[in-house]
Symmetry: C2
Subunit: 220 residues, 2 copies
Amino acid sequence: MLSFPLLRHAVNVPQPTSTPPVTGARTSDPDASTVERLLQAAAHAFADKGFHATTTRDIASGAGLSPAGVYVHFGSKEELLFALSRSGHESALRLLRAAISDGSTPGEQLVAAMARFTEWHVEQYQVARVVQYEHHHLTPEHHAEVLALRKEMDSLVRDVLDRGVADGTFSVDDSADTALALLSIVVDVARWYSPTIRRTPTEIGATNAALALRLVGAGH
Amino acid sequence: MLSFPLLRHAVNVPQPTSTPPVTGARTSDPDASTVERLLQAAAHAFADKGFHATTTRDIASGAGLSPAGVYVHFGSKEELLFALSRSGHESALRLLRAAISDGSTPGEQLVAAMARFTEWHVEQYQVARVVQYEHHHLTPEHHAEVLALRKEMDSLVRDVLDRGVADGTFSVDDSADTALALLSIVVDVARWYSPTIRRTPTEIGATNAALALRLVGAGH
DNA sequence: CCTACCGATCGGTAGG
DNA sequence: CCTACCGATCGGTAGG
């Protein structure tokens, strides 16, 4: 299991100092494993230019490798996208599940899910962009695998809404429509966010959590 | 001024019958002008595969032209994207302004803006996808021109919110954050919508308008 | 608006 | 994991 999408943790690990200095266009952490560097460089490039506009040479040089270096670790450019997309979806799903299990009421669960999922979209906005906007470029088989994970995210949110309606804390017209709108607010962060924006992940997460409570009629 | 982004109107115009039958991969209305057919074919292809994955040959054949036919009307692939993106932004802006001027109260204006802008994203989802997700591929000069139009859309929505707060019908914590969330709900339609979805544009528009009222504390 | 074409680039492979 | 390379494709142009 790749730890890559949760770089916040990896960054706090003690750093070996035996690595040669970074040269050229390398954009990824020189202390990470080669596969992790490739995934990081791919996330960077795919988020910035999109899958098709990114060349395997961009990714290779971003990871500090020769043009053919990608093919030592991945069979094709699409397989690299798949590895990145799948691990990104799995991280997001774990995060959502953890946030929901932290809350003891539907209101707390909704707030935790919106805040933490939003924070992830900000902190991992390059991975999030690939997760949300590049999965169409996968092969049909790989796409199907990722779509199953996406449906699971949707269900998790809808289930929180249904529990809140059942216990009377939420009031929504249609839980599927409302879940989609909640996810729209979060997913769209990956579109508009840029590192030049001053607001912190926590602030953006708190804003989206408050908006979510309004949307389910529990905003006061 | 191109009428292209409002095809609903063009389709109701009487059709001349002197046009030769459609052959090959043509995807656009054979009765439209060549420039309009190129813009239609480009919207189709850019929305489906993205700017970089689309070849000028895809667009040319979609419009019923030879591979070099694009360059009779546009200097480059990017100029074609710019023409499409600009006319799409202008249509969207006109639509938003018209919807807002139709309402006499902030509540009516918000409902009209959300419903009609959402309907546009559904009915013109290919143009909307290009408008919302492909503008990064423009040259810096063209990008700046389009960003000005995007800021104007944002201001229109924020102004409705501010008027509703001023007259006491809305209650929002921060009008900029709330305007962004409202636009997220609309823009995200271009991501998730597909023609296989059964709900009509009117239904989706009404749903988003109702969600918007909840978000501004006027949902009951 | 088309045919024919060019230079550049790209994904991927051979063979160390 | 690299050097060297190949076949295919692409954006764009010449010259009708």
